[in-house]
């Protein structure tokens, strides 16, 4: 039946977008052991920068996809050097609170700069419109999101398993002292990883911009979704982020479609069940970085 095919594609579309965002949160937790509450705000910033580059500066979407995340990553370096450096040695609760403060600051700055209203970004012409697939009509852009999600998945896998820099990140995450003793500047790795996490969030933001209207509350919604993803998949686990994102995508896709009466409840029920029975998530921490 076309309904299931459509719901499945929709789940994948949501799931892979969530993966792009949540995997950044997870990498940051895996290496830095902080939970970045401001991750959603960085996602939002990516979307707004893309809006500015496309609608104000008149750049093509592709240029924005390239530039906006770099801008957010640079901001992340500043955040790391100015604020986060104080709390790396403290417990996780402090990092939650400080990044919550950063979230408030970014949210309000976005409101001041871009206003409270909604903004809209057009998808590039190449990706507007829809195609028929699995017996239903699917937005070309959704397919693009799925494709980029899979591309990033492959890219991340390659980065962590096939490149030296990825292995250095893993080594620093696994054993910071040992990495230090092997000439690795872990302080630099920490900054780099935080910036990389922010970059991923911003890529998610740029990808989301043509699908969703931009408003200053968009980061708050996505951060809770990301929490659900990483908790279900396993904090700090790279494959866990994928699994969690797909599960949440399915919950949204099928829950909204077949159980609309309780669709808000389902993600949290899923999250609670995982925490109760497998507190460290389905894939657990430390399997691979």
């Amino acid at each position: 039946m076309s309904g299931i095919g459509a719901a499945l594609l929709n789940s994948l579309d949501i799931g892979l977008l969530l993966f792009i965002i949540a995997v950044g949160l997870n990498i940051v937790f895996g290496v830095l052991n902080i939970i970045n509450f401001a991750h959603g705000a960085l996602y939002m910033l990516g979307a707004y920068l893309a809006f500015t580059l496309i609608n104000i500066a008149g750049m093509p979407f592709w240029a924005a996809l390239l530039l906006a995340p770099i801008g957010v990553a640079i901001l992340a370096v500043i955040i790391d050097r100015v604020l986060l450096r104080f709390i790396y040695s403290r417990d996780v609760a402090d990092s939650l609170l400080l990044t919550f403060a950063i979230l408030l600051i970014i949210n309000e700055s976005v409101r001041m700069i871009w206003g409270s209203g909604i903004h809209v970004v057009q998808p590039p012409d190449l990706l507007s419109g829809s195609v028929r697939l699995l017996g239903s009509s699917v937005a070309t852009y959704s397919l693009f999101v799925i494709a980029i999600g899979l591309l990033l998945l492959a890219g991340l896998w390659y980065l962590f398993n096939r490149t030296r820099i990825g292995r250095i990140m893993r080594a620093a995450a696994l054993d910071r002292d040992m990495a230090e003793a092997l000439c690795i500047n872990t302080r630099l790795v920490v900054t780099g990883v935080f910036a990389f996490g922010a970059w991923l969030a911003a890529v998610g933001g740029v990808m989301a911009a043509p699908m969703r209207a931009l408003d200053p509350g968009m980061g708050d919604k996505i951060i809770i979704e990301s929490f659900i993803v990483v908790v279900i998949g396993g904090l700090g686990s790279f494959p866990g982020a994928l699994l969690g994102a797909i599960i949440l995508g399915l919950i949204h896709g099928f829950g909204g479609r077949y159980l609309p009466e309780v669709n808000l409840l389902l993600p949290f029920v899923g999250m609670a069940l995982v925490l109760l029975f497998k507190p460290h998530g389905i894939m657990g921490k430390g399997a691979t970085a």
Partner: protein
């Protein structure tokens, strides 16, 4: 003198582990630090390495005071370190464990390369693609030593290289130390007097965070009283 450690005091929080350790190494020497567990042997190596920076005292390496430097800077200056529990990165293959550490100082040529090591140490070469964490204890120790070579060290710190290993492996580790000592200065710790005296030229004995005895291997070998007093149960 390649290493000159002067009266270092190191704390874990408020617990004092080193109460003023002083020791020297000439380039080319192989020296052992002996002592019962809890005596401060590991802490001495970690303090030299910058992993537990000493609160006072000096660590002079190659004429430069390095205490207070971040560990990676000390490593880059040419001190290699193999920790007590090996600390192989799990999930990374043998080759990747070596690759992560690959470092080349400016102006020097790399004596040790990943491929060179895998060729020289067959036991590692055969397992290049295997997850480092799945190796046996002895193999992990080999890998840990090999990994420390990747930073092209001029001074190698080995913390209890024999701990928990079967006798036949201990012998191999001894051979490895002998081999490396041809080209590199080595400072290692051990609990076994026999092993230490066989492979080191000199030894320091630590007790309660202080150097209580210093002697050449030949002197110590015949000095039963000192052995019993500081190292055994007496």
């Amino acid at each position: 003198m390649i290493l000159d450690v002067r009266n270092i005091q190191t704390f874990y929080g408020e617990s004092q582990a080193l109460h003023g350790v002083t020791l020297q190494l000439e380039a080319g020497e192989t020296v052992c630090i002996l002592g019962r567990n809890g005596a401060g042997k590991s802490t001495t190596l970690k303090s030299i390495m910058g992993l537990t920076p000493p609160r006072s005292g000096e660590v002079i390496y190659d004429g430069k005071p390095v205490q207070g430097w971040p560990a990676h800077r000390i490593a880059r200056a040419g001190i290699g370190y193999v920790p007590e529990d090996r600390r192989i990165f799990p999930g990374l293959t043998v080759r990747d464990n070596l690759d992560v550490a690959a470092y080349q100082r400016k102006g020097s040529t790399a004596r040790w390369t990943v491929d060179g090591i895998l060729k020289k140490y067959e036991m590692l070469g055969e397992r290049a693609g295997q997850d480092g964490a799945t190796l046996s204890g002895g193999q992990q120790q080999m890998l840990a030593v090999a990994r420390s070579l990747m930073i092209q060290p001029r001074l190698l710190l080995l913390d209890e290289p024999n701990e928990g290993l079967a006798p036949v492996i201990v012998q191999q580790i001894g051979e490895l130390i002998d081999d490396l000592s041809q080209t590199t200065t080595i400072l290692f710790t051990d609990q076994s007097v026999r092993f230490a005296l066989k492979h080191a030229q000199r030894a320091y004995i630590l007790e309660k965070g202080q150097v209580v005895h210093e002697a050449s291997s030949d002197e110590l070998r015949t000095d039963q009283a000192t052995q019993d007093r500081f190292l055994s149960v007496a």
